[in-house]
Amino acid sequence: MGAEPTVTIHLTAPLRPYSGGVSRLEIEAPTVKAALGVLEHSQTVLYRNLCDETGALRRHLNVFVNADNIRDLRGLDTTLAAGDVVTFLPAVSGG
């Protein structure tokens, strides 16, 4: 049994083709950065949609932990607690 909190990654519709069609993934990770690290190895195709080749979070994606944008928390170092829901959403932009 892992010591890290189990959290849910919620995937919006545009990301589901890259996760085998599922909308929710249960993973164990203590921070958002660690969650991305888990996805890098377990969901490589999905991960490429979230981060570029350098490992940087894609510029026009917002990450929410429950209802809070991690920009307003501690960014990628935001800690996760058991039961948290992490959501990747495209920023409202474009034209």
């Binding site: 545009p14 949609n49 570029d52 350098t54 510029r59 932009s93």
Partner: protein, 370 residues
């Protein structure tokens, strides 16, 4: 038997495919595929069973390459898109060019930041081409208004010509292993040195297989009134080489402007070349009256083709891949505008009609017969 004219139209909101019988009557439009996502490059690969490719440059989720094996009735993503090695430190920003290679499933792909990739399996896996991507000049190139992009790949046997904005013209003579800057006679208007070794803002390069060694280039012109260091440099925008791109000379005399983006060669006559002059300051049609200009003498003289085109109040831009010519015996030209019109010029551009007038802003157009 070839019996359909197929036109791919990459737009700011996805890729469209139009097709029609050889009469070019009754074009039908399908799409957008990759909806809502900009498409800067398409390729109609007619080697074997035709495949249509489109770069889908998703600002949210990264680059994808779309492929259709049913002439644009449906598209799906290839298994991967080009990507830099993690240790490289660069990240793909856009896919600007797609070209067919020699082998059956070989593709070449030019990207932003300016680099070249190669696939040997129809786009499912990609490898960086280090000879240009890691060239000693690569970290010295600077982005133009469209970004630092490798936008043109012209292949001629073991020779590979590349257009980079702003890097200039680079050439390989060993199949893409090594590349050299080859810009003798290619001017730059935005540096004190009018003819630097590299750093030019090449816009497009074209060739015809029946004229070995000859290349045409649309360079970043519009510098006739320049009064900065290095002095005036008129007519550097439209060029020709007759020695495989080693040296270049101006063929801009007679054009209303030497600024423009696309340059296209007639499919059956290497002396016939087309440009779309734009005003340098606005990148729009001179006087608001668009016209394609054609030379039938390899650039010695030019003639305006505007029958059927608007005569006033038209201030659109035609981007670097926004014009192409189909391959029928008497070919038609096509150009797409940043205001969303797709125009077709029958009889090699003699008579124009608007095929579609309310598409999203058009980035690229390719046409062929399948």
């Amino acid at each position: 038997m070839a019996d359909r004219v197929v036109v791919t139209i990459g737009t700011r909101k996805g890729v469209f495919v139009a097709d029609a019988p050889k009469t070019r009557r009754g074009f039908k439009l399908r799409g957008p595929f990759g909806p809502g996502v900009p498409v800067y490059s398409t390729l109609i690969d007619t080697r074997g069973k035709p495949r249509l490719y489109a770069s889908s440059c998703n600002p949210f989720f990264g680059m994808k390459l779309l492929c259709s094996t049913d002439l644009g009735k449906s598209f799906k993503e290839t298994k991967s898109a080009p990507a830099f090695p993690k240790e490289d430190g660069r990240a793909l920003a856009n896919i600007w060019s797609l070209e067919a290679g020699d082998a059956a499933k070989e593709l070449w792909c030019g990207v932003e930041p300016a680099s070249l990739f190669r696939s040997r399996d129809a786009g499912d896996t990609w490898e960086l081409v280090p000879g240009i991507s890691n060239h000693e000049h690569a970290r010295k190139w600077e982005p133009g208004a469209g970004g630092l992009c490798l936008h043109t790949i012209v292949r001629d046997g073991n020779r590979v010509h590349l257009g980079i904005s702003t890097g200039g013209h680079y050439m390989s003579e060993d199949g893409g292993e090594t590349f050299q800057a080859s810009n003798s006679g290619v001017g730059a208007g935005f540096t004190p040195d009018p003819y630097p070794e590299f750093g030019q803002c090449v816009h497009k390069i074209a060739r015809h297989e029946d004229a070995p060694g000859r290349l045409y280039m649309q360079n970043h012109g519009g510098w006739a009134e320049w009064d900065g260091p290095g002095g005036r440099r008129p007519d550097i925008g439209v060029l020709r080489s007759d020695d495989h791109g080693k040296t270049w000379r101006s063929i801009a005399k007679g054009l209303p402007s030497d600024f423009g983006f696309p340059i296209v060669v007639h499919p059956h006559d290497p002396d016939v070349v087309y440009v779309m002059p734009l005003e340098g300051a606005t990148r729009t049609c001179p006087g608001g009256a668009p016209a394609v200009w054609r030379s039938e003498t390899g650039g010695n003289t030019w003639h305006k083709l505007n029958k059927g085109l608007p005569r006033k109040s038209s201030y659109f831009t035609i981007q670097r891949d926004g014009m192409d010519v189909d391959t029928l015996k008497t070919p038609a030209l096509y150009f797409g505008t940043t205001t969303g019109q797709l125009w077709m010029g029958r009889e090699g551009g003699e008579e124009w009609e608007c095929l579609f007038d309310s598409l999203p802003p058009i980035h690229c157009v390719k046409a062929t017969v399948v």
